[in-house]
Each structure stands twice: as C-alpha cells, then as structure tokens.
Symmetry: D2
Subunit: 289 residues, 4 copies
C-alpha cells in the first residue's frame, strides 16, 4: 500500500487480551500503529477499538490484509470496518430555507477543512441556489408536497445512488423523511437539530426555548433514525442566553452553534472516529490528526 | 436611612416615559441611583426595572418613601417590591442523601460569600447531620413515608414559619412536595434539578442521560411550582462529557455543575436580581455589585 | 424622523441625577426609550450610558435634537456620539493568507447578519482574490515590502478615504501598521489576534501555545492602537485543547474561535454597543435587539 | 496481587511495535488490560503510554512483575513508573489567607471525592485554623519573614518528610518557595495560579486583568518549578466577565474557577493520569474510571 493512513473500527464482546492480540496482528503485518484508542463499556461488556495504521512500506494487498484479519476477527466475534484513506467520501447536502450551515459546510469543503467531495445540494426550495452557484456545486430543486413525498424521495434516492454518495447531511432540511428512506442509509445520514436534545424535540425549538425561559440554548448533530430526533448523538453544544432573547434572537445565536456542531460531527464521521452501538455513538477524539 | 443599598423591583405594562418617570422620582426623593436596569418584553408589552439606590444622606423614612412611591406606582399599574438591604434573609436548606450542595452552601454562607443566615437544615434522613454539626447549624431529621407525608410537611412548615424563614433551598431533597406546601411559599423555594431542563425531568436524570448518549450534562436551578421540574428557570449550566462516562461518572461530573448553578441562583435571589413573570424568570445581571 | 432606532453613547464624570436628567430629556423631546443601559466605573468615578430611542412619530430634526442635547451635555461634561440608524456603515476588510475570517464576514454581510456594506477587500497578497469574486466585492492587491511600506499605506488610506470607509477590519492582515496610519482611524480599526491576550502577543501564538503546553487556546478582537496587540479588548473566547494538539491542529481549532470572536466584535461595533475609556472597552450587551 | 488497579506510566523514544509489545507483555503476565492510552509526540518522536491493569486473579509478586518488566523496558529505553493502587497518597495543603480552595479540597477528601489522606495543613498565617479544626486535620502555623524564610522552609520540609507526604498542594500559599525546596519535590508540588497562564504571571493577576480590560478570567494549576508560574500546566479554565467587574468582583468570580481547576488537577495527579515531558504535562483523560 501507499503512504496513507488505514483506519480499523472494531466492536466485539469484551475479553482478556484483545488489545494485545489486535495490535500484535497489525505489527506482524508490517504496519506502524499511529494511534490506538479503545473503550470498554463495562455495563454491556463490549469492547470498542479504533486503530490507525501507517501503511508506508507495507507490501501486503488489501485483500490479503482483510483475509488475514478475518482469522482474528471471526473467533473473537468482531463487528468491524476498515477505511483505507485512499479516496475522498462523496457528500450530499440537503437544505430548505436556512443558509448558515450550507455556507459553512461548502466553505470548509472548498478550503480543505472537510475532507470530502460535495457532489450536490438537494432542496425542496429554490431559495439557496445562489449559494450552490457561488461554490460551483450542482443544485437540485425537488419540491415536495404531502402527496408527492414518496415520489420525491425516490428522486432523491436516485440522485444519491447514481452519484455514489457516501454521506447525506441534513443541514436544516425541514422535511421528515420516511423510515424507508432513512433505513436505506443506515449511519449515513447526519441531521442537525436546533436544540440540545432530548430537550425540544420536533418543530420550533427556539420558540419553545423562549417560552420555557431556558438560560442556555444548543444544537445537536445526530444520525437520523426512524424515530425523529432520537438517533445516536454525535455532537452537542450550547451557549448561555438571557431573558432578553426573543425567539428571533435565539435563532440568530443558535445559528453559530449549529454551524460548529454540524461541522464537527461531519468531520468526525469523515475521519472514521465514530462507532454506533445501539442508540449511542462512540466518538473517539482525534489522535494527533 | 442609613448608608445602605435599597433595591426596587418593578413590573408594569410598557408605556412611554417609564424610565424617566421612575428615575426622576428617586432623584427627587434625594437618592443617588447606583444602578438602573430595565428590560422590555415586546412580545407581552411588559416593562421590568431593577433600580438600586444609595440611601446615604437621605432623610426620608421608609413609610414616606413607600407612600410617595405609591402615587407613581398606582396609576402606572406597578407590580413592585422593595428591599432595604438592612437585614439578612433567613434560609433553610432541605436535603436527603447527597452532600455536595450542602457543603457548598454552608461554606459560602459561613465565609460571607452568600449574604444570608442559614437557620436550619431539614432532612428526611439522618445521614448528613455531621455536616450540620461541623458548621454549627441546627439539623432537623423529619423522616417521611407515603402515609406520613402531609403530617411531615406540617412539621416542616412549622419549623420554617416559626423561624421566619425567607427562602427554602431544596439542595437535592428527594421528595415531591405537595402543591399545598409549595403554594405556601411562592417564589420562595429554589430547587436544583440535576439535568438541563426540560431534558430529563423527573427521577434518575444521569441514568437517562447515559442511555440517551448525550454529549453534555447539566443542572438547572428553578423556583419550585406545583408542576414538578417546570418552574421558572433561574440558572443553568452544562459540561461536555464523552461516551466513556457511566451513570456513576456522570453523577460525579454533575455534582460540580449542581454546586455552582445552585449557589448562583441563590445569590441572585438573595441579591434581589430576579423578577418572575409567568413561567419565566427575569434575572438581571449584577451591576458592579 | 422616520421610524428608526437612534443610539446615543455618553461618557461623563459621575454625579447624582444623571439617568433621570438624560432620560427625562429624551422623553420631553418626544422619543420612546427602547433601552437604556448604564455603567458606573466607581474606581474612576465615570458614568457611561447607551440609550436607544424609537424616533417614530417625532417631528424634531437632527440639528434641533443635537442643539437641544448640547444644553444638557455641556454643563455635565458629556463626551458623546449619536448614530441615527439611517445608513449602513461602510467596511473594508484587510487580509493576507488565511481565508476563514474573510469567508465568515462576507457571508454574514451578504446574508444580512452583519449590518454593513463591505466596500472592498485589501490584501498584500493575491491569494484570496477568488473569495472576493465569489462574493462580488472589489479586491485590491497592494503588495508591501519593508521599503514600500509607507507608500503602500498611503495607497490603502486613499482607498479607504475615497470610499468613505467607516470601519477597517484586520481579518488576519499579517503586517504591522504604522502609528501614523492607526492614529488616522481611532477606534475604527478592529484586529483579530489569535490568542487570548495578553498571553502570546506578537507572532506565532499557536506555536508558543504548543510550547507552553496550555490547556486552552483563544482569540481576541480589539481596537488597533499604536502598541501592538495592546488595544482595548472587545471580545475574547477560548476552547479547551489537550496535549495531543500540535501547532497545526491548534491553528485549525483556533480558526473557529477567531471567526466567532471577530464577527461578534464587528457586530458590537456596528451596533453602537461600545464606548472606549482609556485602554478598556465598555461593551454593552444587546438589549432585545 | 489483590483485586486492584495497577497503573503503569511509560515514556520512551517512539518506534514500531511498542503498543503490541507492551500490551502483549501484560497479557502474558496474566493481567486484564482495563484501559490503554497512548500518545505519540511526533515533533519530538516520543511515545507515551498509560496502561491500567486489573490484578485480580494474578499470582505474580510486585518484585517479579517489575523484574520481568525491566527486560522489556531497558532495551526500549523506557522512563516508567508504576502505582499499585494499594495505598492512598498522603497530601499536605499549604495556604495563606484565602479559604475557598482549602474548604473545597478538604470536603472532597472527606467525602471520598479525592482519593488521598490530608495529613496536614501548613500556613504562614493563623487565619484558617478554624477550617482545619472543622475537618479535624492538623494545622501547622509557621510564620515567615524575609529573614526566617530558609529556616521556615526547613521546618516545612521536616513536617512533610516525617509524615511521608507524597503531594504538596499550594492552595493559594502566597510565598515564593526557594529553588532548593521546590527541587526537593519534583512533580510533587501542585500550585494554583489565579490567571490563565501565561497571562498575568506574578502578583495581583485580578488587578492586572481589570486594568487590561480582558473579557475572560481564568485559573491555572501547574507543577511548581524553579521558574515562578512557568511549570507544566495540568489544568486551566476560564469564565467570561464584562466591563462591570472590578478587581473585587473578579476575585469572587475567579474563586469558583480556582476551586474546580485545582481539584481536577489534584485528582488527575492522584489518579496517575499525568506524565511530564519537558515543560509540558501529558494529561490522559479518565478512562471509564
């Protein structure tokens, strides 16, 4: 393999000797272990590992590496994935009216601060097309009504699949997707919700936050699942607010939180830092990356 | 009056000229206005003011001041209160098992960082008596069962009222008080809840936080009302956590948040910084105090 | 005057009756006081006020208002300014190599989240021209060497003055401006420094932060003065970091702090929330704006 | 060994295979690896590891374990230490006038939130003796003048050494210790400085913070070294402040930051989470502890 970082993500029943066995395996295959992060969930007796390898100087092929790895993985009941770091992931961004997350993601991708190709923007409105044009990204306007919902989802799916989209980012896409759609992209749809979940699920969280008189507002990025706003949480953040804030000012303050939270969640995903377990997301911190 | 700070809290329908009228009134009565903070809720067309006066060199009596003030207040429909800063408030702390908030409040009161007299500690358990003894504060052990609940509340009320308690602090008192009890002390009971409300209302918030996989945990201090965990929020804060946290470590991390949030809320109350309006607490910041 | 918000900023020696006198004056001139914020610096016996007026329904002209105001201001030794909220401020952005602040400011201005006209971008490099073109803003490439420094500053000044620029934003402009230049725009140049000042003044703050092993990094927006990185601080913020961070990762983490800190500082300036006093910036919070 | 957690801290030149070799060693010795954290400083080509072992069911003696470990450690040039988790560390707290850190540490130790024995409090003033008495901890009043400084340090040293003190906590001890004293306890003295270092080194940081007009204040816990306020930083935190704050209010706001920062640093030290390298402290996060 070429000089590149290979990342393995592993989940398995906990048992003695796992870290020794796994790291010895990669050492014997000729890799230098750049970082090795583990987490044991002692409540569920489950073991999680993220290991990053420097492939420089190795001669083994991907096929052989995986074949050899299976000999280790099968008896130990690994649930695992590998990313060879040799191609950028393809990303689609779905939006409706609000522009701040879209600008932020496009800027980061363009300037190399997010390691991905933004293949397209899909929207149920035409309002943000000018931003797509500024950044030279295809913009697909696919309006949706109650009646055309399933039909529109089929169009979206065709666009995503024909473009080999690896990750869908719902950057304030204000439509509820069908279970069928969501289950087609497991752990591949990241949504930003404009509240610190589980507070204020559903519509109009800033209005609800004003009415409840909270002293901080927040945002949550999570994988979309069938249950609205209940998927595994990747990132959350908050800012203090005061009684002075109206729903309108909360919206403005919240926009800056949403941008950072979504961008960090997407980066963590693209960077192979996440293992989902049940409804919880294990998010390994960057390791000197 | 002696050299002291007098604080007026005013709430009224918004209209032109309020700040001019109010501040002119106090100026004409001979006071120096130390600080004057206002807030207009434009959604409900309501005006709020906190004004702090230096009484030094004034000759007017409290009675005359209030009589004169009424001439201004009545036509403008003021809902108002005044604190003359001439005596410390009496405080009772209610606890069950957990000690961190209790230590923190007692230390702050003893060292003059909270301006109050802690008259007593009331508990449904005997477990924290040693702390009361360290700080030389009376400790009343009033156990409670489903059957004796109302009876116990009567005992608590007698203790509070016979000691002229101004403020009750529920520092992790793990009993639900009756509506009757709570309504007896409107805006005079502060509770600390160990989550960022409205998330995780009710019991076991740290366990729920673990299960939901949130990336931050928090605490909320609020006035107790009939509706459990739904009273006006005074203070909130959060800390980031990771997937590594178990319910036990969340509890430990949360303890430090709870202490700061409750202490700040109590300080704001004792310092006359709060006006409650519906279910929202207007909390004026300190003004060079 | 039309329906608009007029903002007065006042600084004067402290004395009894100021808030009553000032608010009564505006009430008598027919204005509704939307918000009135004051601050007394008791160490220097100085009084500061920011008062926002709703001009709707008033018939007085600006000239008459100011003539009348002077009768109040002169005997009380006011140092004051007024903004009638009737025209957007003109802004110039100066940059060198780094793009994140530039994108952020341009996006906010374009989407109406910063209330200003970005008249131009000035740079000593050609590198960021593509961003100016995306946002349709004139880009002036004015290279500078040790020898041509003063000459270049003259060119910059001509550009700024001929375009009636009100505010210069140094969004990571990596040149030290001459005292002569800076003094030409007092309290009209905002600089972003990529550390929590006064720590790590001067060059390479992220490298210094790595070497010192700090556990948080920050950014500071301040008015530029003759003394490098020592002008009045408008906004600061920090993020926690760990030993894992290299100077390169600190730079990336810091970029997001810089963006928010600079944007908030510019907003506070454009929104007339700041009074400078000596080397300290009094920054009034937004008042329901 | 009994059922207990054994912690190894290792620092060595980076090279291929380290994690595999180390974890395999412990696996072969019969230990279960509870957590294994590594950090590679790629600038200095240095490798750091913290590994926690469950000793339950092992039969090997400490002596044999260390003898065997040396066969691995010597050729790989390990700089290492081990803590067997079988006895609490002895701690001395040094104070002068301020009480908040002292209360906080004593409460945490008493309630089991800090895993240590507080053997004594040493002070150059008699002022805080009542707190020592509340918590039943010996209080040594050792006044100091310019003339008696060295003599007093000898007394302090005798107290510390005769009581087998493992860690000295300078909880706002307002004396500069001699190099000789400090070098006697390398990486065993933790100091709290009341600013976000390197800003405001030396005396009166809150006064300096006021004068500089900073918008956030902080605290820093670090190992004491010969160079005042320049030792390896363990923990830092900050809180936002406004222009309203005087040096007095900054002191009060800062007290709460100091308490949390010092307590966290002490916990990290007692919990064997820290490896010092040059002037930087590698602080491993808790791993499900």
């Amino acid at each position: 393999m070429k000089s590149q970082i290979v990342t393995f993500l592993i989940k398995c029943p906990d048992q003695k000797g796992l870290v020794a066995k796994i790291t010895s395996f990669f050492y014997e295959q000729g890799f230098n272990i750049v970082s090795c992060q583990q987490y044991v969930n002692s409540i569920e007796d489950t073991y999680f590992m993220r290991v990053r390898l420097n492939a420089e100087g190795t001669v083994i092929s991907k096929e052989d590496l995986e074949k050899n790895f299976l000999k280790l993985a099968t008896p130990l009941q690994f649930n695992w994935s590998v990313n060879y770091g040799d191609k950028k992931q393809n990303v689609a961004i779905m939006v409706s009216h609000t522009s701040h997350n879209l600008y932020d993601l496009l800027e980061r991708a363009k300037e190399g601060r997010l390691d991905c190709n933004v293949k397209m923007i899909i929207s149920n409105h035409n309002k943000l097309r000018h931003i797509a044009e500024m950044f030279n990204v295809p913009y697909y306007y696919l309006p949706v009504t109650k009646e055309t919902k399933l039909e529109q989802e089929v169009q979206v799916k065709e666009l995503l699949d024909s473009n080999n989209v690896d990750l869908v980012i719902m950057a304030r896409y204000m439509q509820i997707l069908s279970s069928e759609f969501i289950n087609h992209y497991p752990e591949r749809i990241i949504n930003i919700h404009h509240s610190f979940l589980p507070a204020f699920q559903g519509a109009n969280p800033y209005k609800k936050a004003y009415e409840r008189g909270v002293k901080l507002i927040g945002a949550t990025a999570h994988y979309a699942t069938e249950d609205l706003d209940e998927g595994p949480i990747i990132e959350q953040d908050v800012k203090p607010v005061t009684h002075e804030s109206t729903p309108t000012t909360l919206k403005r303050i919240g926009a800056d939180i949403e941008k950072l939270v979504l961008a960090r969640a997407v980066k963590n995903h693209l960077n192979n830092q996440i293992i989902v377990s049940g409804n919880r997301a294990i998010v390994f911190p960057e390791a000197g990356e």
